[in-house]
């Protein structure tokens, strides 16, 4: 996908959040950072700007949250986290914010989101990814979440992944 400056504006001004050079940097790095001694110089050479410019813009994108972080994404299966459970919870809507904050703060939860219910098939409105070396470890962690929720837990289940069908990461263009 192509980032669209028309919709990505700073909240406090009419200045576009991303310009053409930012977009070139995004396209040049979305599949990864060059693995050479001076990676930002390599990107700069590729798109025809100064290395300082590339570094300044990356720094700014980190500060504004356009880049969550620069780093490594491990394949959790390869690291021995064989059980990957998506725990889903039906909690009262008026408490979902407060409870989501508490669950997100647990050190074994990797993602935590509020999502819409699809009744009657899908009554759950809070998602928390829990990883463990085996299912017993995941189950213990899910019990800890249930204890924390108490009576706000009106129902939950855990969906285990059995296979990665595709994992390419986000593609900008």
């Amino acid at each position: 996908m192509t980032p669209r400056p028309a919709t990505a504006m700073r909240p406090d001004s009419a200045e576009p959040l991303l310009d053409a050079i930012d977009r070139q940097i995004i396209v040049a790095t979305q599949s990864g950072l060059p693995r050479v001694a001076r990676p930002y110089h390599a990107i700069a050479a590729q798109i025809g700007v100064a290395a300082e410019e590339v570094m300044r813009r990356l720094q700014r994108m980190l500060e504004t949250g356009i880049i969550r972080r620069i780093g490594a994404v491990p394949n959790h299966y390869a690291l021995g986290y064989m059980a990957n459970g998506m725990s889903v919870w039906d909690v009262p809507d008026e408490r979902v914010h407060e409870l989501g904050e508490k669950i997100g703060a647990l050190d074994f939860v990797s993602h935590c989101y509020q999502r819409p219910r699809h009744l009657p098939a899908w009554p759950y409105n809070l998602f928390a990814m829990v990883h463990g070396r085996d299912r017993a470890e995941v189950e213990a962690k899910v019990r800890a979440i249930a204890d924390l929720l108490g009576t706000a837990d009106r129902g939950h289940t855990v969906l285990y992944s059995t296979r990665i069908l595709k994992k390419t990461g986000l593609r900008i263009a």
């Binding site: 990864g32 620069i70 490594a72 491990p74 285990y160």
Partner: protein, 147 residues
């Protein structure tokens, strides 16, 4: 995987500097050389221990659309549908999960409006309903995987 590989994986999940020679800076902190770090990083990506290394962009803040979608596919039709779904470039991740809703994928699109179009295409091409579950709120998490 030895102690240095583990140290590299743990270190690089926490961020990477923006400076002239970032690999050298990280290598110094790990007590190794930039060349060795680059060699190890290449191998960890090559053998699939790491799925990627680089900036992680925030799709919505780029002006695009992002959602999680789920489908209920009969086992006999699962591979056919997986192939159709995976062929969409907008499908970033797709996981098989044990549940009546047994296929879960992330859609990332150029525009927010495009999410609905891709979902309609997937429903048309596969013949099954897609349940759209966009995030309504994201709660902060700080987890890292210890290697």
């Amino acid at each position: 995987m030895d102690a240095l590989d583990r140290a590299i994986i743990n270190k690089l999940q926490g961020g990477f500097p923006v400076c002239e020679e970032p690999y050298r800076e990280v290598a110094n902190q790990l007590g190794t050389s930039a060349d060795e770090l680059l060699r190890r990083l290449d191998a960890l990506l090559e053998n699939g221990t790491l799925s990627r290394f680089g900036p992680m962009y925030h799709a919505e803040r780029l002006g695009g659309g992002l959602t999680l979608a789920a489908m209920q596919i009969p086992p006999h039709d699962f591979e056919r549908v997986a192939a159709i779904v995976n062929a969409f470039p907008e499908v970033a991740h797709n996981y098989a999960r044990e549940h009546a809703l047994n296929m879960w994928f992330v859609l990332a699109t150029e525009t927010p409006e495009r999410i609905g179009e891709v979902i309609a295409c997937i429903e048309r091409d596969t013949g099954y309903t897609v349940h759209d579950m966009p995030k309504q709120e994201e709660f902060f998490v700080g987890l890292r995987f210890e290697a």
